[in-house]
Amino acid sequence: MLLGIDTATRFISLALHDGDRIVAESTWETANNHTIELAPAVRAMLGRAGMDTPHLSAVAVALGPGSFTGLRIGLGFAKGLATTLAIPLLGIPTLAALAAGQPRFDGRLIAVLQAGRGRLCAQRFAWGADGWTPEDEAAIVSWEALLGSLGDGRPSLISGEIDADGRRLLASYGAGFGVSMAPAAHRMRRAGYLADLAWARFQRGDVDDPLTLVPIYLHQPGVPHP
């Protein structure tokens, strides 16, 4: 049983993957109470599935990009669990997990999360033999810069956390840039997809070292910003 944890933003998502199926999943928005809510929620999910921590064979966590506190809490919790239970740890990029939950689309996928003050953290994906594959690195952009880079005739689907301003902007101008927005249920990051990606890596033995795994913050020092 693999436990998937995503605390990269104000949305927390948890999932249990038994190798074939997602047997439990839970996603909610926290009012910045990751610390208070995470451990009891994991306990409750295991209990609902009739299990306890000794049933876990691996733990996967959203590695970022994401907010400082959210990532630290998720990674700290996952490392603690992996180390005490002596099970493998896997870090999964946040936007790759989001992309994995999007249906096939004939065009580019732009996976986003909020970076604050009108900025986004965005990464482009293209559909390939293994599903959605990154076309570039995640980067902080303004809505204006993002839309401005898309008016090339190739249709774009944007998914992930999009705030009210962003939704209004897309409703008004998206069509002009060939951009459509994924429906609300697809925009939500669900740990079931993160767990799916992690399970495949776990099967290959491609796991991370709890001592050296570090989060990817939204704002990496030295990265230029618009």
Partner: protein, 166 residues
């Protein structure tokens, strides 16, 4: 006060009291989501301006220099918004800023007032109001305002109109 070009403004303050009043006027106009940077050496008027800005905005308790705590939060009774007052003086750079979670403060819509913004330049949004304080003769200070982004150009224009007329 000469208008150098749209989005900029210069003013010479006669002293700390006038600097505080200038801050007060701006505080009355600060909107949710605004990022205001206060740049200049120690003693140039950043904290005097910030104190006035906090008063004008409605901050309780009064804004003081947060040099020893990095971030002060001031809640306004009217709408429960918080004014974040950040002092980056003791930070060595964006690395340090991340280790105390400065990026979190950008994720909500509470206005941000940042002293020593140069030290965290890498994580500031491009759109912002940048206010620089320079020593002049005696107590006088040259204060330059520079707005980046349409909404801050509008803010500065409104500030200029309400504070200096015209």
């Amino acid at each position: 006060m000469p208008i150098l070009k749209p989005g900029t403004l210069e003013f010479v303050s006669r002293g700390a009291d006038q600097t505080t009043r200038l801050g007060h006027r701006l505080g009355e106009l600060v909107r949710p989501g605004d990022v205001i940077c206060l740049s200049g050496p120690l003693g140039a008027g950043k904290t005097a301006f910030a104190r006035g800005l906090g008063q004008g905005w409605g901050a309780v308790p009064p804004v003081t220099s947060p040099t020893f705590t990095l971030v002060h939060e001031h809640t306004r009774q009217a709408d429960g918004l918080r004014l974040y007052h950040v002092d980056s003086y003791r930070l060595s750079g964006p690395d340090d800023a991340l280790t105390f979670g400065l990026d979190e403060l950008f994720l909500d819509e509470n206005p941000l007032l940042i002293e020593w913004p140069e030290r965290v330049a890498g994580i500031l949004p491009a759109a912002r109001l940048w206010i620089a304080f320079h020593f002049d003769e005696g107590d006088r200070r040259l204060i330059t305002f520079e707005a980046a982004g349409e909404s801050y150009i509008d803010l500065l224009e409104e500030y200029r109109r309400r504070t200096f007329g015209g």
